[in-house]
């Protein structure tokens, strides 16, 4: 039980660090948001499940599950709000394909 908990916590920490590295490394706002996606989904889940295994009986597990559920419900909404705010203020993503770039510009009012 303890070993699997430690393992999950380690994987979660590694994913958190990966997310942080991604934020620093990626070129523009939108790609950085994808890096944050790693931290807010799988990394959070791994760390919280690891913590649940630390004390598998008791109300703590339920509370951690509620935290996990809330995070999973709230984070996509927050990401979407960020992305849509960026688009509304005409921050254009750096795209691989130049034609896509034009299409996005023309479809955006």
């Amino acid at each position: 039980m303890n070993i699997s908990s430690v393992l999950l916590l380690l994987i979660g920490s590694f994913l958190c660090i990966s997310g942080g590295v991604g934020i620093l490394r990626f070129p523009d706002f939108y790609t950085r948001m994808h890096a944050v996606g790693v931290t807010e989904t799988l990394a959070t889940a791994m760390i919280l499940i690891g913590l649940m295994l630390q004390n598998p009986d008791g109300l703590v597990v339920v509370k951690l599950m509620i935290i996990l559920l809330m995070t999973l419900f709230i984070s996509p909404t927050a990401s979407h709000a960020l992305a849509s705010a960026a688009v509304h203020n005409n921050l254009m993503p750096e795209l691989d394909n130049k034609e896509d770039n034009k299409k996005v510009k023309s479809s955006n009012p």
Partner: protein, 156 residues
Amino acid sequence: MKHTIFLSLSLAVFWLLNSGHNTALMLSLGAISIVLVLYIAHRMDVIDHESQPLHLTLKLPGFYVWLIKEIILANFLVVKHIWLGNKTISPAMMTIKASQKTDIGKVIYANSITMTPGTVTVNLKGDQFLVHALVTESIEDLVTGEMDRRVTRLEN
């Protein structure tokens, strides 16, 4: 009516799990707070099939299992590209079409896209979703419509 009953039940369970107290005073305070919340929610007119999607209850677990699998796979992909560096990513932005009829179906689809790392729904106009992706392949996966079909099946 059944939405009100479900909301009060879930509030009661939420209160009990969070407090852990079961003295008479605490329980009655909890009951009063639940009634207060129900009253406010009723005044705000938010108790309906959208805030309490009961009709989805039976189909949701299967969808969640599939979504969790997708999220884990997408996480591996994004972590791989983080460590491989900027030369391996190919950011793309594209408009894709959603086949859901109801608002709640569209919200579930848009949120599922955003929840899988590597793709984010940026804008939503009618049935057109503007999606940004870290690698072009993930948008092509969305265009083939596996997730779209599953959400539509969930809705019906």
